[in-house]
């Protein structure tokens, strides 16, 4: 290369670099929070609520009483985890983040969330079994805003015709007997979601825990009995083969079609249940030897992500306290079809709708997935668990072999 050509090249590089620098600083300038107390940002996984919704109004009124405006963005639940991690990396986390409970331990591990010790958030009113999902190494990283969990929805009309008395369903054998009767009557038994994602583990956990198994030993005899229960249902035609690919929504759609006696589904279907063209009822998921199986808790936490400007925590705390005060919780959880995380509010929910008792009981019996101080070990275990469920149900492995492989893989990490 000649000298002049080299110089030309350098000039080009310099020019480009200059333009890049200009663009980068331009971006950075936009990221600065606007004004001192002005706008506080909040991200939530409720994209279904538009501008004029009750939820949005509640946020603005909370902002108003704290003397700020709240700028809210609703994301898809799965999207929000990645968005929150990236934002933490870029140093532009929202002031308040409402996020799915099993993600809390991941974000806390990442150092993206403040603990309640630091921000002086009051969590004393929340039920301990719900708060468990937001705790890691003795610290709490948010306040539950509402909880949901799983139970068995049943088609009253169909069970009546098949001659099944729901009151007789107390444990696994009686449930299986009921499914056999339904099949004998020419109808379909039960549908659920055993998909190869977190949703599949969420659905399997009531049976897994209901057998007495622990997430620290995936290959225990109890765990094998739970997976064998599902496998046998598929083999005998009590449950459709499509469960391997079903999401909870597809499973609900199958149930809504009217051919299935049961679906394992959540609190969030209450609004859809009103549209069913048959009578329905709800029973808790039975444990193997009777009683209610602990189902995993679903639902979100309100938390305060780490900010460079720690002065913002004061207002953020006021916002979170406002969103989680009993009156507002009642409004929020009614809109979301969630069970309130506070006992007093649960009683109000039951007073308004006695049918809600089943859900309150189920939530009180429920367990956080990341609890037992599993924290960020849970995602690894869960991935192996859903893989084992898929392996056994699709027939590529026996329940024992699938769970042994799962335990080996989970322990290796």
């Amino acid at each position: 290369m000649t000298t002049s050509a080299w110089r030309r090249g350098m000039a080009g590089v310099a020019l480009t670099a200059l333009t890049v620098a200009a663009t980068v600083t331009g971006c950075a300038a936009n990221d600065e929070p606007e004004g001192g107390g002005g706008a506080y940002t909040l991200w939530d996984p409720y994209p279904q609520f538009a501008g004029g919704s009750d939820w949005e109004k509640l946020l603005q009124s909370c902002g108003g009483s704290a003397g700020v405006t709240v700028r809210r963005t609703g994301y898809d639940t799965t999207d929000l985890t990645n968005k929150a991690l990236l934002a933490a990396q870029q140093g532009n986390s929202p002031d308040v983040l409402i996020i799915d409970n099993p993600v809390i331990s991941t974000l806390a591990q990442a150092g993206a969330l403040t603990s309640t010790d630091e921000t002086k958030l009051d969590t004393s009113a929340s039920a301990p079994n719900l708060l468990g999902a937001g705790q890691l190494d003795g610290r709490t990283y948010g306040v539950p805003i509402g909880a949901n969990t799983l139970a068995l929805w049943y088609n009253k009309d169909l069970l009546g015709k098949a001659g099944v008395d729901v009151a007789s369903i107390k444990d696994w054998p009686s449930l299986t007997a009921a499914l056999a009767k339904v099949k004998g009557a020419g109808k379909k038994g039960i549908t659920f979601s055993a998909i190869g994602t977190e949703e599949g583990s969420f659905q399997f956990l009531p049976w897994f825990w209901g057998s007495g198994a622990q997430l620290t030993a995936l290959d225990s005899p109890q765990a094998v009995s739970a997976l064998t229960l599902w496998k046998d249902w598929l083999a005998r035609g009590y449950a459709p083969n499509s469960v391997i690919n079903n999401t909870q929504t597809t499973s609900w759609q199958e149930f809504a079609g009217g051919d299935y006696a049961f679906t394992e589904n959540g609190t969030w279907q209450r609004a859809n249940a009103e549209k069913l063209d048959f009578a329905y009822g709800i029973i808790p998921v039975p444990a193997s030897a009777g009683g209610t199986a602990p189902a995993p808790t679903g639902g979100e936490f309100v938390s305060i992500p780490v900010q460079r400007d720690t002065g913002r925590y004061d207002v953020s705390r006021k916002l979170v306290a406002c969103l989680t005060n009993p009156d507002n919780l009642l409004t929020t959880d009614t809109t979301l079809s969630y069970v309130a995380p506070v006992a007093a509010v649960q009683q109000k929910q039951i007073a308004a709708d006695p049918g809600f008792t089943v859900w309150v009981d189920a939530v009180n019996a429920a367990k956080g997935r990341t609890g037992d101080n599993l924290g960020t070990k849970y995602p690894k275990i869960s991935e192996q668990l859903w893989t084992a469920v898929q392996g056994a149900l699709s027939g590529s492995k026996s329940p024992q072999a699938a769970l042994t492989a799962a335990q080996d893989a989970a322990a290796a990490k």
Binding site: A11, T16, V20, L85, T106, G111, S242, I244, S394, G395
Partner: protein
């Protein structure tokens, strides 16, 4: 430096900038991501230790690697072969103008125009074990239902079939325009010499279509290697890895569980880029070679 040069560089700056910001930088970040041991903590606060090729070693020795590699190869090869063959057959068919040929050809473009989420969801409904129309049709002719998406034996085939269906229009359109570029007098001369239809195809159409075929196959290769949404929507790569390709595996590592593994995820993504690059180089080499 002359004024002209400055002007030249000024014109060049936007595209250089664009390439750097949207191609070079993400690529660099992806390579960097794959060479460090990221945890969620170091992803956020920085300081992930340099791990050399550890992520690649982990990925290659992972039990999913073998199946994913085989599935990616089968998925890509079978998809390309069938898309190209069927696309070429249809292109030749539509090349003779007959009544309604334009309308029919336009109809063949529908799969291409549909958003992938729509076509993938439609396929997964059609192939549903319980309520799918395909199993209903099998039942009508007295065959047993097949668990298209939920059996490890069939899941890969199911996603391949759907992918072929989606890829045919692209092949049809490109090859059809290639056919129109072949001058008619060549065919007339061949007809005068008494060449049969088969001879005309293999001796004239196929060789003259070679450059177009090559680029169609290359674009098809790159596109098929990175097919993600179709597989993810239809089977999530399952059951138990039976339809996992590198693309779905990379996504699952990076975003599919609650605890992301960015390093290995990026490593798998980079392996895909290398595969596409090899395809591109093979194409460039084939282009330089004397034709026939």
């Amino acid at each position: 430096m002359s004024r002209n040069r400055w002007t030249a560089w000024a014109f060049l700056a936007p595209v250089t900038l664009y390439l750097l910001a949207f191609y070079a930088y993400p690529l660099y970040r992806n390579v960097e991501l794959s060479l460090r041991r990221y945890t969620v903590r170091s992803f956020v606060s920085g300081g992930a230790p340099f791990a050399g090729l550890d992520n690649y070693r982990d990925v290659v020795t992972h039990p999913t690697f073998g199946p994913a590699l085989a599935h990616t190869a089968v998925f890509t090869a079978v998809s390309l072969l069938c898309q190209f063959t069927l696309g070429l057959a249809l292109a030749v068919f539509f090349h003779r103008h007959f009544p309604l040929s334009r309308t029919l050809r336009a109809l063949f473009l529908v799969p291409w125009l549909l958003p992938l989420i729509v076509s993938a969801s439609t396929w997964s409904w059609m192939l549903n074990s319980e309520a799918g129309v395909v199993n209903a049709a099998l039942g009508a002719v007295g065959l047993d239902p097949v668990n298209w998406l939920t059996s490890p034996r069939w899941s890969l085939l199911s996603v391949i079939i759907a992918n072929i269906w989606i890829g045919i229009p692209f092949n049809l359109v490109v090859l059809h325009s290639g056919l129109q570029a072949i001058p008619d007098d060549v065919y007339e001369a061949a007809a005068l010499d008494g060449a049969s239809g088969t001879q005309r195809f293999w001796r004239i159409t196929f060789p003259l279509l070679r450059p177009v075929s090559a680029i169609t196959l290359l674009l098809g290769l790159i596109y098929t290697l990175k097919v993600f949404d179709l597989v993810w929507i239809m089977t999530r790569g399952g059951p138990t890895d039976s339809s996992t390709t590198f693309a779905t595996w990379s996504y699952r590592l990076g975003f599919g569980s609650l605890l992301p593994e960015f390093g290995p995820g990026a490593a798998v993504g980079n392996l895909l880029i290398v595969a596409a690059l090899i395809g591109g180089l093979a194409y460039a080499r084939a282009q330089r070679r004397p034709r026939w």
